[in-house]
């Protein structure tokens, strides 16, 4: 059995090298067909992962704990309590990188120049420095520190609209948790620029203690508790566990897809577009490859007929053709994937704005959040293997028709033909 197996493998190996140029073209086709999607998936998935991570870190984490009705109506009087205990338990978990307590207050910021609707986010500055990119986006003044009180940071667009600079003040009007209108004076400590119109124009950050004071919340209550997980792919599994074990009566754990459905939908649509484009590309390339395999099989019909005459079984010939495509796939698919990963590694850190000079960075937004234009590919062994194995299977499928045709070969007809 092994002797036969090795014999068939030997014939298959030598057969594919009979026409070296054709073999190299075929190998190159499969290699490109595997390389291009691997490369684009690394890049695209990297963008998505980067975007999700940035937004999760800036806003309310990969998983958010909040009042059960907060999603429908994010008003100031919907908060969750017993937060310090939940926070402590979550921080002890291996899957959790960090947590952030958030007090959100919707209100109006006004100066003599005008009034703008804003969202005030009270955060813990020391944690925010560790997890969010916002502290690095400060272009004037400084980022917040613990106990900063009424000092806040605002976006460039908001500063422009209210005509305020670092050190200047504005009035913030909102409702407390009892529905009473409250007003307080804020002073600008820093101005940030993220490239997102939404964030730069309507977002204010302050120390959480001061936000709690305005809202009338105690230290054990927040609007949200954001949880940054180490591996954002695993958060779905954690949701159920945390909901069962940690959530209080009025609290619910939600995924970032539920918190930011716009981004989730956009990413899903974009992924579908990328995958569809890749699929079409692959079909074209594999069709070329299919023609080559079919041609190389059909032109050897006489040879196959003589082997059948000598007592070779149909199954052995089919195995030979299968091996030929198997060899193509096993060489080209892993190489293509590796090349795709290598290319993605090569362009890592490259700023796409160098290519798209005419594009305004502010237009590079998904769901109101600015995209990082610097390429940060996403490298995943399982994803690369998935692509490689999918292509390998597709290549193997190419042998089905040639195998079928060989099974219908007429020995006498082929031997009679010259």
């Amino acid at each position: 059995m092994i002797i036969k197996f090795l014999l068939i493998l030997k014939i298959a190996w030598r057969s594919i090298w009979r026409n070296k140029r054709r073999t190299f073209i075929s190998l190159f086709s499969i290699l490109i067909a595997t390389c291009v999607p691997t490369f684009f998936v690394c890049i695209a998935w990297g963008f998505y992962a980067g975007l999700v991570d940035d937004v999760a870190r800036l806003m309310a984490g990969h998983v958010t704990y909040e009042h059960v009705e907060y999603r429908n109506s994010p008003s100031n009087d919907l908060w969750v309590d017993d937060i310090q205990k939940i926070n402590r338990i979550l921080n002890d978990k291996d899957e959790v990188l960090s947590t952030k307590q958030i007090v959100n207050l919707q209100g109006v910021a006004h100066t003599a120049k005008g009034a703008v609707g804003v969202s005030l986010m009270g955060i813990e500055p020391s944690k925010e420095i560790e997890i969010s990119f916002l502290p690095e986006s400060i272009i004037a003044g400084e980022y917040l520190s613990q106990g900063d009180g009424r000092w806040v940071i605002v976006g460039t667009k908001l500063a422009e609209q209210l005509n305020i600079k670092v050190g200047k003040k504005f009035v913030f009007t909102t409702n407390d948790i009892n529905g009473e209108m409250v007003e307080d004076l804020f002073r600008v400590k820093g101005i940030f620029e993220t490239g997102s119109k939404q964030i730069d124009g309507h977002f204010v950050q302050s120390d959480i203690s001061f936000a709690r004071k305005i809202a009338g919340l105690d230290n054990n209550s927040t609007s949200q508790l954001g949880i940054i997980v180490k591996n954002s792919d695993t958060h779905e599994n954690l949701l159920k566990e945390w909901q069962n074990k940690l959530a209080r009566n009025n609290g619910v754990f939600l995924s970032w897809q539920q918190i930011m459905p716009d981004i989730a939908t956009t990413i899903r649509m974009d992924r579908t577009a990328v995958v569809s484009f890749m699929f079409m590309l692959v079909v074209i390339v594999l069709f070329t490859m299919f023609s080559t395999i079919l041609m190389s099989t059909l032109e050897r019909k006489r040879e196959f007929a003589s082997l059948l005459a000598l007592g070779t079984q149909q199954i052995e010939l089919k195995l030979q053709i299968f091996f030929e495509t198997f060899i193509f796939g096993i060489i080209a698919c892993p190489l293509g994937s590796l090349l795709g990963v290598g290319l993605a590694k090569w362009v890592e850190g490259y700023d796409m704005m160098n290519i798209f000079e005419d594009v305004n960075p502010e237009d590079m937004e998904i769901g109101g959040f600015g995209m990082d234009t610097v390429i940060t590919p996403f490298f995943s062994t399982s994803l690369t293997l998935q692509i490689s194995i999918s292509f390998f299977c597709a290549v193997l499928l190419l042998s089905v028709l040639p195998i079928y045709l060989i099974s219908r070969i007429s020995i006498t007809d082929e031997l009679r033909s010259t």
Partner: protein, 241 residues
């Protein structure tokens, strides 16, 4: 009294090609016996059914009607797979166009069927090297078919056919693509194999040089056996077709 064992027998074998009104009758009731140790030559004009008959005897094709038996096994009742196994184990083929596998060298071509049979590497080597020596193929083991002359390729094809020591070797116009000197040496070689190893041969040919080696001559005409002993006129007539 004939004490030779019967290897293959045909009874009233008919082979038609096509269907309906366009039917070509290739064989019209052939009855024939091939005995162990025969060195038979089948002759006849082009299109008389020689190759069709060889194909049916070798299990490459099936008769439209009639019985074909090999070692008492009825080909009509056997599956394609079973026929294939019979060819592998008991029948050797030598083709007009050699039909060597271009990706295997001479040695590998000759050992091909032995490998299919699962013969051990030592035995294969022993058999093939012995045959190569006997057939004047020494030193050509590593050459690929494209590096061999027509005569050398046909020798390799014969070596491949007889390496498994088959009960029957079917040879279809094997001297057609080689020069007369080579043809002579190939026939001498097969006659020697017939004599020394008692290998049974059945040839189809137009070549008169084959006749002098024949122990039995079968004349085929219009799909029927005209005679099993040919006159010199008949031989003269068919060899120039």
């Amino acid at each position: 009294m004939n004490t030779k064992r019967e290897i293959t027998s045909l009874h009233e074998v008919v082979k038609n090609y096509g269907e309906g009104k366009v039917v070509t009758k290739a064989l019209q009731g052939i009855s024939l016996k091939i005995l162990e140790g025969d060195f038979s030559v089948m002759m006849g004009p082009s299109g008389c059914g020689k190759s069709t008959l060889l194909n049916i005897i070798g299990g490459l094709d099936r008769a439209t009607s009639g019985d074909v038996k090999f070692n008492d096994q009825d080909f009509n009742t056997l599956s394609n797979k079973a026929l294939s196994m019979i060819r592998r184990q008991h029948i050797g083929f030598v083709f007009q166009n050699f039909n060597l596998l271009p990706v295997l060298n001479a040695y590998e071509n000759a050992e091909y069927v032995l490998m299919l049979q699962g013969v051990s590497p030592t035995k294969r080597r022993e058999k093939v090297m012995h045959l190569f020596q006997e057939m004047g193929l020494d030193g050509l083991e590593n050459r690929y078919p494209r590096e061999l002359s027509g005569g050398q390729q046909q020798r390799v094809a014969i070596a491949r056919a007889v390496a498994t020591e088959p009960q029957l070797v079917l040879a279809d116009e094997i001297t057609a693509n080689v020069d007369s000197k080579t043809a002579q040496s190939l026939l001498e070689l097969m006659a020697a194999l017939n004599k020394n190893n008692n290998t049974t041969f059945l040839f189809s040919t137009h070549d008169p040089s084959v006749i002098k080696f024949a122990k039995k001559i079968i004349i085929l005409k219009d799909g029927i056996i005209n005679s099993e002993k040919a006159s010199s006129e008949e031989i003269e007539r068919f060899t120039h077709k």
